[in-house]
Amino acid sequence: MFKFDSIFTRFIALSLVIGLVSFGITVVSSVGINASAQEKKKIAVVTDVGGRGDLSFNDMGFKGADEAAEEFGVELQVAQPASEADYLPNVRTLARTGDYEVIIGVGFLLTDAIETAAKQFPDQNFALIDAVVDQPNVLNFVFKEQESSALVGALAAMTAAHYDYSKVGIVLGIEIPPLWKFEAGYRFGIKWGLDYYEKVTGEKANVDLLWTYTGTFSDVAKGKSSANAQISQGAGLIYNVAGPLGLGILEAVKDNLNQRGKESGPPFMIGVDANQDYMGNGNKVLASGMKRIDRASYIAVKRAVEGNFKGGTEVLGLDDQGVGLSRYSLLVDFMQFGLKGDQIKEENIETIKENWLEMREEIPQFIWTGVNELENLIVSGNVTPPVPSTEEEMKDVRKEYP
């Protein structure tokens, strides 16, 4: 006969033995666990495939939850997936225990997983960062990226005018509605910055916008070629709205500086989402339009621990530090991530700090005052950057702020 019998019995035997062993271990260990009653509350962070060490979304989500966990004395559990197929099982496994005050999904990639799990476990609190799921037990966090982009736009326009550049640039990823917020805010900020520049200096600066949708969030080479094209057309600053393509933009900036035998910009890159100021030795990225994932996960934990957690959508803006321009203290925090991720070396940290401070001091004070003024105007509600949600509205924004 064929070998069916032997293999069949072998596996039955094997699984029986494994089953018995595991049963034994379970009994022994469950006795042990029950003996020590757990009192500490628990929270969980579910990362996307980037996982810990991505120096961006996931590290920030962890940072906020970690700070909150320490502050409120709760235990933090991180679940990292091996692939996107693990998102839902990770969330479910955590939710099934019923031990967690809140389960935080970091990043829009977890949207479907959080939605499915939220329906299945209506009594479990979930938080979802950077996407929206319409469930009563999910607290969503989204960001007013148009506000940080407006600050960045004003800074870019005024800096370009100061250094006699005729253009500012923006390199974006795939043209999807979420990216319009960045583009619209940037355009709005440029106009505002140029008006302010004229008001302060008395001279009218001509700075135009160069914008490129690369159609990719992963092809670093396209970031470089787009940035090269913009620099050769006279762009002095380039806003990276394409994630990892920033590495390519930075390369283009470095090439241009090398050709002219210079160390520090302009041209400058402007970072996005995370604090990318330390990249390129601290004097090539003037600022970053930050999205504070850490604030969102902190708020989620705080609400859950304090017992006033409610589903809904929080839109974090400049007023609650959900978005903003990169500052010195955040630079220091992010260099710690960079250190852990082997992106920068310990001995370079001091140089980066010095370079960064020097770079920022080179920019005249009135420009920073202008950026602060725009921030105050936005926070107080006197000025509102546009938020286009349809293609028509985006076209109107492009006409109004060319």
């Binding site: 064929f2 070998k3 069916f4 019998d5 032997s6 293999i7 069949f8 019995t9 072998r10 596996f11 035997a13 094997l14 699984s15 033995v17 494994i18 089953g19 062993v21 595991s22 049963f23 271990i25 379970t26 260990s29 969980a44 495939v49 996982g51 559990q77 679940a79 990292q80 997936p81 091996a82 692939s83 996107e84 197929a85 693990d86 839902l88 099982p89 990770n90 479910r92 496994t93 955590l94 099934r96 225990t97 829009f108 990639l109 949207t111 479907d112 997983a113 939605e115 499915t116 299945q120 990823g173 795939i174 999807i176 509605p177 159609g215 990719t216 969030f217 992963s218």
Partner: protein
């Protein structure tokens, strides 16, 4: 009599011993890095057998692995070292998404998606088959290279043609009419499991109950004898490739139409990646037998599911969990691996010599 019993029991003992060695090595590694091995293994086994939910999740994960395991197993039976399942899975998945653009009644749509996936996988197995038969290109080389072609083609297709206009990170989802229903609510287990099992039984029947299967196995065991007996070797090799491609293609399709919650591909194809390579491990543990593959896939899937709980309840980080898994799998696959290497080495040597002399 005693020796007969011993021969029956020996493979069981082999596998059991191998499993124990793997577990012990894993425990030592964990202990060295300061994690608690007992807690971790407790978490692992309770995850698989401790609850209905856990076992359902294990079966859900096993579903595609059964099929990719079959691809490799059929290959070995037919005398080829087919590691092209990876790329064939991608093609199957792409085909299943593409046909969801059609509007069809639900039962038929499911069938169309599965057939499309199977066809796409089979078509992707033709180039290595053709290259082997006509030019003598070794299938290890051609399938590995075609896996990369399929990967980048897949990424391109997801972004350029099948992209979700609202969500840049993924493709469009399979049409609701082409989805397989969830079998146990609250888990990811769908009726895809039965498709997978049925396919496995079909292959079993084909290999041991039909002329084609017999010829295929003879070519696999002894090409010279097959030739002497008048079996068309090329026809048999081609069939081996196609059968493998069909299995892998179905695996890809099932990962789309039977895989909640997204029923879609991500732009880096990560939900279908490594299924083909894991299939090699599954086939080796399952001793390249269609029925053995089913059990091996369940075990393999159990390790995957257990990885989650090892991380979440025992606090062992994902990276360490994967090291442990690797050690256990290598140990379990070792017996078959040794046998296979012994079979394969002379063939590879011959092939290298041929290349050198030509």
């Amino acid at each position: 009599m005693l020796t007969r019993i011993y021969e029956q029991v020996k493979p069981i003992l082999d596998s059991f011993l191998a499993g124990l060695i793997g577990l012990a090595m894993g425990a030592i590694i964990m202990a060295i890095w300061g994690y608690a091995p007992l807690d971790a293994y407790d978490a692992l086994f309770t995850a698989i057998f401790g609850s209905f939910y856990g076992f359902s999740s294990t079966l859900a994960r096993a579903t595609p692995l059964i099929l990719t395991g079959l691809t490799f197993a059929i290959g070995v039976r037919g005398g080829i070292f087919n590691i092209g399942a990876e790329g064939q899975v991608f093609m199957g998945a792409l085909a299943a998404i593409s046909v969801s653009l059609l509007s069809l009644p639900s039962g038929i749509h499911v069938l169309v998606a599965i057939i499309a996936g199977a066809m796409a996988g089979a078509i992707w197995s033709l180039p290595p088959s053709f290259l082997k038969i006509t030019r003598g290109v070794h299938e290890v080389i051609s399938t590995i290279m075609l896996n990369w072609v399929a990967l980048y083609f897949g990424m391109y297709a997801v972004v350029e043609w099948l992209g979700d206009p609202q969500r840049a990170e993924k493709s469009i989802s399979a049409a609701t009419t082409s989805r397989l229903p969830i079998m146990v609510s609250g888990t990811s287990l769908t009726y895809a499991l039965f498709v997978s099992l049925a396919f496995s039984l079909l292959i079993f029947f084909l290999l041991w109950r039909t002329t084609l299967g017999f010829e295929l196995r003879v070519v696999g065991q002894n090409p010279a004898a097959a030739n002497y007996a008048g079996i068309k070797e090329n026809y048999s090799i081609n069939s081996t490739f196609i059968l493998g491609g069909l299995a892998a293609g179905v695996a890809g399709a099932l990962q789309i139409i039977g895989h909640p919650p997204t029923y879609a591909l991500y732009s880096d194809l990560s939900t279908v990646r490594n299924l083909g390579f894991d299939g090699i491990g599954v086939a080796l543990i399952g001793r390249n037998h269609p029925i053995g593959v089913i059990f091996a896939a369940v075990f393999f899937a159990g390790l995957n599911v257990g990885a989650r709980t090892m991380q979440i309840t025992a606090g062992v980080p994902l990276e360490m969990v994967r090291i442990i898994q690797g050690v256990i799998i290598i140990a379990l696959a070792a017996p078959e691996l040794i046998e296979l290497t012994n079979q394969l080495l002379p063939a590879v040597r011959n092939w290298i010599n041929e290349v050198k002399t030509s």
